[in-house]
Symmetry: C5
Subunit: 91 residues, 5 copies
C-alpha cells in the first residue's frame, strides 16, 4: 500500500455502471519525488476528504474493498492515517 | 485510476478474437513528465473520442468493465471526465 | 496495452511445461525513452515476426489470450498493428 | 519479491474492515536509488519489527499470505531475511 | 516476461508456510540501466543457479508456475535462456 494525501476530486457523468455512486478522489503519494509519480485517482471507501492522509491500495487488491468486488477500479482509499512513524533515514 | 487525454487510435486487423469489435484508443496520462510515461492503448467502453479527458483503469480492473471480462486487455477507458479539481500543490 | 516493435527472439530449452511450444519474442515498446524501459519478452499469439509493430498486453490480461489461460506468462502479443494515428503533441 | 528494511509503522483507526487487527509496517526496498522508489506500506505476516530485513511480496500475491486472502492489501511481509548473498556486480 | 541473470541467493528461516522449501534467487534484469531497476527475488522452478540467464515472470503469472499456485510469490524463474537474438537497435 502507499500513503498519500487527498488533493482533489474527479467528476465523471458518463462512466462505467460499476462506478456510479462512487466518490473519486485524487491522491498524491507522499515521499514521492515530484518528477516521478502521477497523482492517482482512487475510489473512497472510508469517508476521506481533501487534506486527509490516507492509505491507498492499488491493483486487484482495490476490488477486495467493500462494495468494489466487481467494479472497474484499480485503486481504493482503504484507511485514514492517524500517524506514521518512520525511523531516521527511512524516508 | 489515471486521468488522461485521448490522443489517437490504433488499428489492428490481425488480433486476438477477444479484441474484435473493440475500439482501441491511445491515451496520454495527464500531469505526466514527458520523459516518463508511455502513452497507453486502452479499450474504450464509454464512447470516448479524440480530445476527451478520460478515466483509465489498468490491470485486471480493466476486465471488470462491460463486455471485457474475458478479453486480452490491461487498460480500459471507464469514464469521461467532466471536471477535476486539484488543490494547490496537488499536481 | 502498449505498442511495440518485435526486435528479437528468445530460446529456452529448459522451461515451465506451460511454455512448451510457445514462441517467445522480444518486444521494444515504442515512444519509449531509451534509458527508461526494458524490452519485454512476450508470448506470440498472432503469428508476429521480427520487425512487426504489435500490440502487447501485460499482467494477468496476457493469460486471457488464446491457449494461455494457465501458462506462466505475464506478457502476450495480441495484435499486429496496421496503423496508429496520434494527434500532435500526443506522443 | 523484493528485499527491504522495516523503517516505520502506520496507524489508521478508520479503515477497511479487512485491515482490522493487521500490523502495517513501512518498508524501504534495498538497493534502491534514493530518488526512485517510494517506501511501501506492507501488512506483516511473520512478526517483523523495526530494523528487520524482510521479504516483501506485492500485488495479488500478497493476498496468498496467511489470513489475507480477502483483505484490501497489495503488499505483505512474508519472510525475515537471515542472509542474502549477491555476486560482484550483482546489486 | 523479462530476461535476467541470477546473481545471488536469499535465505529466510522465518517465512510464510507457502515459501517453505522454495529456492529464492536474486535476479538482475538485463539491459537495465543501473540506476533504474531493483534486483528481483524470484522463486526458482527450473533448477537455475548463479550465473544462469533466466526468464522471469512477475505478478500473478508467477503463481501459474509448477507448485506455486497458492504461494505468496510475485516472481518466478520459469526458464533458462539458451540464446537470445536481438536485432540492431533492439536493445
Amino acid at each position: 500500500m502507499q500513503v498519500g494525501r487527498v488533493v482533489g476530486t474527479v467528476v465523471a457523468t458518463r462512466k462505467s455502471l460499476s462506478l456510479v455512486g462512487k466518490k473519486l478522489l485524487v491522491v498524491k503519494p507522499l515521499n514521492c519525488p515530484p518528477d516521478k509519480v502521477l497523482s492517482i485517482v482512487a475510489v473512497d471507501t472510508v469517508g476521506a476528504g481533501i487534506g486527509d492522509t490516507v492509505l491507498i491500495v492499488t491493483g486487484s487488491g482495490a476490488r477486495a474493498s467493500d462494495n468494489l468486488d466487481s467494479a472497474s477500479v484499480d485503486a481504493a482509499i482503504v484507511g485514514i492515517v492517524d500517524s506514521m512513524e518512520v525511523a531516521d533515514n527511512g524516508s
